[in-house]
């Protein structure tokens, strides 16, 4: 299972590992998403933090021949049961090839990589707002919030109630879950604003976290600025190396009164919400 990295004595201890891991399961969660569970060593899982990602070497399978690796957020990491979870939507060549893997197949993953979420000491009431696969990135944050004893509200947005995921996971972690869907007409920015304003009025919003939606990012930036509430956003960008060498995954951010390019793989994928520029 474990491909020992080439590390010599005297070197700094590595913080990212390229490993061949055994697939424990790889099943459809609903019509759009699949979940991959990998058998992972403890030393790897103990390095993982909420918001980080792995750069995945997708197999040459199912008629697909992806070349570059594909970055994928960690959906869950559980050292106690040696499991690393990924939640993914089958879209391009890489994820189509991943979907072909079955139990006991092998998948090569490189990580954990990137800057994780942080939860400041005075952020007692956290609000997560997730849309679609952005949820995968925020799920480990819910686990960390529970570990730290913070009060958590998870607002989950999806096209249809059938595509709402992880509600059980969030509720199991003691979070209050608010589900909004396009089908029910509850996921509009106007309604989301009402929902978040209520949380602010109730003293349940010390910090915002989001991933996966431009509209949600804009709304939380607006509300955060109006009420002085900080926040963090996990962003995506096409990547190659995943560690900061190739400089391909930059996005623009407002920092120190300038617009600067930052690498999503290295300075991110988690950024200060106030610095992010909606796309």
């Amino acid at each position: 299972m474990l491909q020992t990295p080439h590390v010599t004595a005297g070197a700094d201890a590595p913080s990212a590992f390229d490993l061949d891991l055994r697939v424990k399961s790889n099943i459809a969660v609903n019509g759009e998403y699949r979940m991959m569970v990998l058998d992972a060593p403890t030393h790897l899982l103990e390095q993982c933090k909420a918001g980080q990602f792995f750069n995945i070497l997708c197999p040459q399978a199912g008629g697909e021949s992806p070349y570059l690796r594909r970055p994928m957020s960690i959906y869950g990491f559980y050292p106690e049961k040696n499991e690393l979870h990924f939640l993914y939507k089958v879209g391009g060549a890489g994820t189509r090839a991943m979907a072909t893997l079955g139990e006991n197949d092998s998948l090569t993953v490189f990580g954990p990589l990137g800057t994780p979420f942080t939860i400041e000491d005075d952020w007692k009431n956290l609000v997560l707002v997730a849309r679609g696969v952005g949820l995968a990135t925020l799920a480990p944050l819910a686990l960390e919030a529970k570990r730290l004893g913070r009060r958590l509200t998870a607002i989950c947005s999806a096209r249809h109630p059938d595509y709402l995921m992880s509600i059980d996971l969030f509720e199991g972690l003691g979070a209050r879950v608010i589900a909004l869907t396009d089908a029910e007409g509850t996921s509009t920015p106007e309604n989301l604003e009402v929902v978040v304003e209520k949380l602010i009025a109730d003293g349940r919003a010390d910090a915002f976290y989001t991933c996966g939606s431009n509209r949600i990012l804009r709304l939380l930036q607006k509300l955060g600025e109006a009420h002085g509430i900080p926040g963090q956003v996990a962003l995506e960008q096409q990547m190659a190396c995943g560690v900061g060498m190739c400089q391909c995954c930059v996005r623009k951010f407002n920092r120190d009164d300038k617009v600067v390019n930052l690498r999503v793989c290295r300075e991110g994928p988690v950024f200060d919400m106030a610095e992010a520029i909606a796309w």
Binding site: V7, Y67, L68, C241, V243, M245, Q247
Partner: protein
């Protein structure tokens, strides 16, 4: 025990494997011990701040990659303050890659990076030269000779000229670089390419065109390394599409003294170590005592390669 050491114009390397510029940085130290490499080659910098090109900056095409990153640079000040000191912790030689829009800017930078801790300078003369309508210095023998003379006068350090495959005058450019003062040739940079999304009808790179790298480039860059090794008398460092020890062996037989591994590191972050390990094992299995025995050992019957190239053209 196989002797893996090679000599690049007086600079002794413990093995012939090093990264290609732009595919290596301090961050890789978090993955493995960089002391194992033959040399460290930094990403090309320019004197001044550069933002780089619009995204998308890379795309993949049939088992290879196109990129147009655009040399984002924090400038020479930040480089001398942060990057050079970082690599001082290693005994492995540090090779600094530089570029310039004009000959003056290029030469000034060449002088500025000639500091303690830097063992050689890779001069990226494959970049566009704004004084020559954006054509790279290394497209023509005359502009190659002129820029190399300027750079030679600016630094006492070994100069490695990185050549471009986007020229029809490979042997002439190689000789011009040598005559202009280059100590070694890095062969080669990426080849100008393009990809278009048939659904959106938009080019798949923000900069419209970019450089092809990865396995598809290898036969082209190998041919160039061979041509340069035959044309010039300074060492050739092979670069282009190397992802296995067999690729390295092929370059060495063609005439390269060492090699650079680039895009392969994006696919396998420890690719250079795997290649090094496999190279040593292959040499031992073949009963070859020193890697230098391979260099230029191609059995080509001493054919006239200029005639051979013309025959292909016809």
């Amino acid at each position: 025990m196989v002797d893996l050491t090679v000599d690049i114009a007086g600079l002794k390397l413990k093995n012939p494997i090093m990264p290609a510029s732009g595919t290596f940085s301090e961050e890789l130290a978090e993955v493995f011990d960089l002391e194992q490499l033959g040399a460290h080659v930094t990403k090309t910098i320019t004197r001044d701040w550069r933002d780089g090109n619009p995204t998308p900056r890379v795309c993949e095409v049939n088992g290879s990659m196109l990129n147009s990153i655009g040399i984002p640079s924090k400038g020479v000040g930040a480089f001398l303050e942060k990057v050079v000191p970082f690599f001082k912790r290693y005994e492995t030689p540090l090779v600094v890659s530089i570029s310039g829009n004009t000959a003056d800017e290029f030469a000034t930078l060449c002088q500025e990076v000639s500091v303690e801790g830097v063992d050689a300078i890779e001069v990226n003369i494959s970049c566009p030269n704004i004084e020559e309508d954006g054509k790279a210095f290394a497209i023509r023998p005359s502009s190659t000779f002129e820029i190399m003379q300027r750079l030679r006068a600016a630094s006492p350090l070994p100069l490695w000229a990185k050549l471009t495959p986007n020229t029809g005058e490979v042997a002439e450019v190689a000789r011009a670089a040598e005559e202009g003062g280059a100590d070694a040739l890095v062969v080669s940079n990426t080849i100008l390419s393009m990809a278009i999304d048939i659904h959106t009808r938009q080019p798949r790179l923000g900069n419209l065109m970019g450089g092809l790298s990865g396995p598809a480039l290898k036969p082209i860059a190998l041919r160039m390394a061979y041509q340069c090794a035959r044309a010039a008398s300074i060492p050739v460092i092979g670069c282009g599409g190397i992802s296995t020890a067999e690729d390295v062996i092929e370059y060495l037989i063609a005439g390269a003294t060492a090699v650079q591994v680039g895009t392969a590191t994006f696919i396998h972050p420890t690719a250079m170590l795997t290649i090094l390990h496999d190279l040593e094992a292959w040499l031992a299995a073949q009963g070859i005592a020193s890697v230098s025995e391979l260099i230029g050992s191609v059995i080509d019957g001493e054919q006239d390669i200029e005639t051979s190239a013309i025959a292909v053209a016809q």
